[in-house]
């Protein structure tokens, strides 16, 4: 698991062409709408590779001089899921027994600052984007989550699919009661 606290763009990114960037942006925007619309099963079936790695690390607050490596065999993470684990989460939502999801919540995902470069592996790209997720529930329960995500996309049968996503929520203390939704 890759669990960086702060990330850097690689030294000489091979930025993708405009056509590819357009496709990447469409992928991320349509994926966000799919999740806003609660089409989780469709998302799992159509947007993910079967070797997908979906990661949201816990970010520590450490001095800059503290060179303790982070990220190898960590003892905590919010998400560190593979394809079956994501399936399990979706199956839970599909039971109709998740009381906090009824009445339906409003969750809105905002995608911005999309950029992309070719990955080392042919036919794969690394996409950067920033996100905001707004959640409003019940009568007045309101929270916002901010951060960035790095996605590895792979072209499979002419379609882009998500092969890896590392989500960095810009918070030490998650300022919400949970982060169980997909970002």
């Amino acid at each position: 698991m890759n669990a960086p606290t702060h990330v850097k763009t690689p030294a000489n990114p091979r930025y993708v062409d405009r056509d590819t960037l357009f496709e990447v942006e469409r992928f991320l925007i349509r994926e966000a709408r799919m999740l806003d619309e609660e089409r989780f099963r469709e998302w799992w079936h159509t947007q993910l590779t079967e070797d997908v790695h979906y990661v949201l690390p816990v970010r520590e607050v450490r001095m800059r001089a503290d060179k303790k490596p982070v990220g190898s065999n960590p003892g905590a993470y919010v998400f560190n899921d593979n394809y079956p684990m994501l399936d399990m989460r979706i199956r839970r939502l599909e039971t109709g027994l998740v009381w906090m999801e009824d009445p339906q919540n409003y969750i809105r995902r905002f995608v911005s600052n999309v950029d992309a470069a070719w990955a080392d592996v042919a036919g794969e790209v690394d996409a950067w984007s920033n996100f905001i997720v707004y959640r409003n529930r019940r009568q007045r329960d309101e929270t916002v989550v901010w951060g960035t995500k790095q996605c590895r996309l792979r072209r499979v049968d002419g379609q882009w699919k998500l092969a890896r996503r590392v989500i960095l929520v810009d918070q030490r203390v998650v300022l919400d009661k949970n982060l169980y939704f997909f970002i």
Binding site: V61, N80, M88, R92, L97, W99, V173, L175, K177
Partner: protein
């Protein structure tokens, strides 16, 4: 100080709702409970080397916990005695000293003032150093690796404070190699009173089948049949309230039950249980393979088996911070430790499938008390009160079945004792709850 006599009734089974809402009661809790009781600070494994430190909170007070050159552990308030600045902003690290960012005073690993910039030219070498040490936590003690601290010099020893709960916790603490906490801690918030999650962990086997029905189904573990309360047998567990407000419920033979693929863990237990039996006897071998929901008074909880370790940090009467670690045995193979982490994260991490269910309930249980009329009402936790009692072989008050509210009542009895403001000696002297009934 508020008279709490009327707030807890019927031996802990009835609570006045104001204890979950009112600011003045909360402040009395900070004074009578959080400034007196032993509070969880860390596990020793988090501070292996001299100079290792971490920052945490005791009640709403920020503290630094540091491993000393002599191997001992000390703790002190993370605020500079000069003008009050917070001194250390890192979650953890290794340091020789702590330097304040405002005027550069530096403090040793024990909190003593060691460096004063321009000391000669401004204080004329007349500074009375001991006066300016960082405020020490009065006592810091460990119990089998678990480090606690108290601001109250008159508090009993940690061992006495834990009382019978230590005997029970030995079931997993006193294994060969001991335990450790894996972190860093996850941190999130809940808009709830701090007592609500404590009681959820100390005594609430009841909600599992209903609140977690969806997760139980999705996880496809031996616990799945509990979903929707389709299965429950009173003989599959029990509940214990110990004298100090600590307590737990246990389901027998279920330590590994929540793990989606528990084979690795079950093998481990099968291999270790004989050692526990030999060392601690039959009962504790049973506890070793049970699944526990538990709380250590006042605000530390855990689920042995799952294996989550929680600290509920108060931040006002309706708000807490939730800190989460994974508890493992040190001798477990790395792959098993990783599985323990994975299960904990998937169930009780910040995106955990059961954490999500609980957080919602905890917030709503608190928030409803905003209503003025609502708040003048009571809440009830009388479940199993008619059958609880003493046990011929087990210490504390024992309730029947894992679905029971005995340890909830034990928690509130202790809460009322401390909130009264009486001294530790007075509390120890007076008679306490002892139902004249024996549980087989």
């Amino acid at each position: 100080m508020k008279d709490v006599t009327k707030l807890i009734l019927e031996d802990g089974a009835v609570q006045d709702r104001r204890i979950y809402w009112d600011q003045d009661i909360y402040e009395q809790e900070l004074e009578q409970i959080f400034a007196r009781a032993w509070l969880f600070l860390a596990h020793e494994s988090q501070l292996p080397k001299p100079g290792d430190f971490l920052t945490t909170r005791m009640g709403e007070d920020n503290v630094i916990v540091a491993r000393q050159p002599d191997g001992s552990i000390k703790a002190f308030i993370n605020s500079c005695p000069h003008r009050g600045n917070v001194v250390c902003h890192a979650d953890s690290g290794n340091a020789r000293s702590f330097t304040c960012a405002y005027h550069g005073w530096a403090f040793g690993l024990d909190g003593d003032l060691v460096t004063v910039p321009l000391e000669h030219d401004t204080y004329y070498d007349a500074i009375e150093r001991p006066r300016y040490a960082m405020h020490p936590v009065a006592k810091v003690e460990s119990y089998k690796g678990l480090v606690f601290g108290t601001f109250d010099a008159s508090a009993p020893s940690l061992r006495d404070y834990l009382g019978d709960m230590a005997w029970y916790m030995d079931s997993f603490l006193d294994v060969p190699g001991g335990v450790e906490l894996l972190g860093p801690p996850m941190k999130s918030i809940l808009n709830c009173n701090w007592k609500v999650p404590v009681e959820n962990f100390i005594a609430d086997g009841y909600h599992v089948g209903w609140a977690h029905a969806a997760a139980l189904k999705a996880i496809e573990s031996p616990l799945s049949p509990l979903a929707g309360n389709q299965a429950y047998d009173v003989n599959t567990g029990l509940q214990v309230a110990t004298r100090g407000g600590h307590g737990f419920g246990v389901i027998w033979d279920a330590a590994a039950a929540i793990h989606p693929d528990g084979a690795l863990y079950r093998d481990w237990i099968a291999q270790r249980e004989p050692l526990v039996r030999e060392h601690l006897g039959e009962w504790r071998a049973r506890f070793y393979n049970g699944h526990w929901d538990a709380s250590i008074f006042p605000n530390c909880s855990f689920l042995y088996g799952t294996n989550t370790w929680k600290l509920w940090l108060p931040a006002g009467p309706h708000n807490i911070e939730v800190w989460t670690w994974t508890l493992v045995e040190k001798d477990m193979p790395e792959a098993l430790k990783q599985m323990m982490v994975a299960t904990n994260m998937m169930t009780f991490g910040t995106a955990g499938m059961l954490e999500t269910d609980d957080g919602e309930n905890m917030e709503q249980c608190t928030g409803s008390n905003r209503g003025w009329v609502t708040r003048r009402g009571k809440l009830y936790s009388g479940m199993g009160q008619v059958r609880e009692g003493t046990h011929p072989e087990l210490p504390g008050i024992v309730g029947k079945g894992s679905v029971c509210e005995s340890s909830n009542r034990g928690f509130y009895r202790r809460w009322a004792e401390l909130m009264s403001g009486r001294s530790w000696e007075e509390i120890a002297r007076e008679p306490h709850y002892a139902p004249n009934r024996q549980v087989a």
